[in-house]
């Protein structure tokens, strides 16, 4: 069924901290690894060893430069580099689900995870068209749509030690930038994190009501005045007097010399 179920009480999802993500791509690699070796069609690569390599990934890390605005009375604050992991947001109002003509795409009633039943997928690509986030990629080899499963084959897997029962990307993140939990439960760790840090939705105007939340980078510290050493560090020969001044003028007078 590709009609959406009523909102579930349990909303499993990720909280991604843009303040601590270092852009190492470990989540990308562990995701590709787990989801190639386990549930569903493997995530294929095309021309993996040529200059035109491409492949299917369920999680990709973008990097953005953000330039704070230049204010009248202050010099421009330096640009910030923000690493930005992006995967399926398991939206409550998932447009990818309702467009599916075969019923392959569905949202789970019990925990809100959006999945693809690969046996029913005809690879029409319409769900990827409907997703504003680029969370779905058609696997060129298998011809079916692939997307983040929230590692549904890990989180409930009683064959794994308890600490491994979370998505591969969360388990592997070395900087603690990825958190997994129930965002439908206001008392869960992830919900508290979102409330305290001001977690936000991506493209809220698209009306998808994403479950996954992003935590904003913390404000940068303001640099204090280091006035103890400052007088000693000022340029000495800026006015160009004496020998240095003469040398400066003499060198400038030469053909091609700096003015």
């Amino acid at each position: 069924m590709t009609t959406l179920p009523p909102p579930s009480a349990k909303k499993l999802g990720l909280v991604i901290d843009l303040d601590t993500c270092v852009g190492c791509h470990a989540c990308v690699v562990s995701c590709k690894g787990w989801n190639t070796e386990n549930y569903g069609a493997p995530l294929s690569d095309q021309n993996a060893y040529s200059g035109a390599a491409s492949g299917t990934f369920l999680n990709r890390v973008h990097s953005y430069e953000v330039q704070p605005p230049i204010l009248k009375d202050k010099p421009a604050a330096p640009a910030q580099l923000i690493h930005f992991p992006k995967s399926c947001l398991h939206c409550e109002d998932a447009p990818c689900v309702t467009v599916c003509p075969t019923g392959a795409s569905y949202k789970r009633v019990e925990d809100g995870i959006v999945l693809v039943n690969e046996k029913d997928c005809i690879g029409c690509g319409l769900c990827a068209w409907a997703c504003p986030y680029g969370a779905r990629e058609l696997d060129e080899k298998a011809g079916v749509m692939k997307k983040c499963t929230l590692c549904v084959d890990r989180i409930y897997n009683e064959n794994l030690p308890e600490e491994d029962r979370q998505p591969a990307c969360v388990r592997t993140c070395p900087s603690g930038a990825r958190h997994f939990g129930d965002l439908g439960d206001e008392t869960s760790d992830v919900s508290i994190l979102v409330a305290e840090r001001g977690g936000f939705d991506l493209m809220p105007e698209q009306g998808t009501k994403p479950t996954n939340k992003y935590l904003p980078p913390r404000p940068k510290d303001v640099e204090p005045e280091y006035d103890i050493l400052a007088p000693y560090l000022e340029p000495i020969a800026e006015d160009g007097k004496g020998f240095v001044g003469w040398l400066d003028k003499a060198l400038s007078a030469l053909p091609g010399g700096a003015k």
């Binding site: 069924m1 704070p68 467009v99 599916c100 749509m145 493209m203």
Partner: protein, 290 residues
């Protein structure tokens, strides 16, 4: 969006085929015997050919039958059902005309309504997508329907109806292009909302997630082809509407009629190419592109 030949052929020829079926269905004209056979053959070659072309872009075409199941929620599923139902109804109606010389009016009207519904549901596949602001507009279904019954009028020899329909369709297409150019910006989706980093400042894509390309970039970011958009718009309007209207006004018999058909089809192909190539998907923002 990537202008895949399969979807361009599908929307163009299915549109014309179902447009012709519409006019045949309402009995304009209602030929019998061999003449009816030729009319229905042309309509079915275009409609079925277009539908078959559309299956070429599927990853697993052998499972296409499953696409009839989700009519409650999916426009693509509804389109599949309407398309097949119309073909079946019109096959019976056509058989009546060809073999028995009988005009089963009710069936014909049912088929005509089915043909319109098929074109409408096709257009809604595109018009429903909030992710492509250029498509999410009333002009998308209106134009699909106008072009379909306009082209159908030309193919069915309803010259007096085709001329005003072409004039209206050409004008509406020009308006849709003009208005569509501003819709991405009007949608309010920007790199700042995409990343949620707008509260810090201006966002610029610094480094993509990978050195090569990927499915998303191939499917949704088609920058190169847009360079000649203005010229192609003029070509599409001239070939699709201006030349056919002039030829039809000169007299629509045989050679001139055929030229009008060829010119119109070429114009619609150009127009549909632009429909896809110029449509910008919001996911491009994550790559700093449109």
């Amino acid at each position: 969006m990537h202008p895949a030949p399969s979807v361009i052929f599908f929307t163009t020829f299915s549109g014309l085929g179902y447009g012709l079926l519409f006019w045949l269905g309402i009995g304009m004209p209602a030929p019998t015997g061999w003449v009816a056979f030729v009319f229905f053959a042309i309509a079915y070659i275009m409609a079925v050919g277009g539908l078959l072309a559309s299956t070429f872009h599927l990853g697993r075409p052998e499972r296409a039958i499953k696409a009839f199941s989700q009519w409650r929620s999916s426009w693509l599923s509804r389109e599949g059902i309407c398309a097949v139902a119309t073909l079946l109804i019109m096959a019976i109606y056509g058989a009546g005309l060809v073999f028995f010389g009988a005009e089963w009016t009710i069936l014909g009207w049912l088929g005509a309504i089915g043909a319109l519904l098929t074109v409408f549901t096709t257009s809604m596949i595109y018009a429903q997508l909030k992710t492509v602001p250029r498509w999410k507009h009333w002009t998308t279904p209106t134009l699909f329907l106008l072009l379909s019954i306009g082209g159908g009028a030309l193919f069915s020899g309803n010259v007096k109806i085709a001329i005003p329909l072409f004039v209206i369709a050409g004008a509406l297409q020009a308006f849709a292009w003009f208005h569509g150019d501003g819709r991405f910006n009007a949608s309010g989706t920007t790199m700042e909302t995409a990343t949620g980093l707008g509260h810090i400042g201006k966002v610029r894509a610094f480094e993509p997630p990978h050195t090569g390309t990927n499915y998303l970039m191939k499917e949704f970011i088609h920058v190169v082809g847009r360079r000649h958009a203005t010229q192609l718009r003029i070509v599409a309007l001239v070939l699709g509407f201006v030349i056919p209207v002039i030829l039809l006004l000169l007299g629509a018999k045989h050679v001139l009629g055929l030229l009008a058909v060829v010119s119109h089809v070429a114009g619609i192909l150009a127009l549909r190419w632009l429909f896809f190539a110029q449509a910008e998907h919001v996911v491009g923002l994550y790559y700093g592109k449109r």
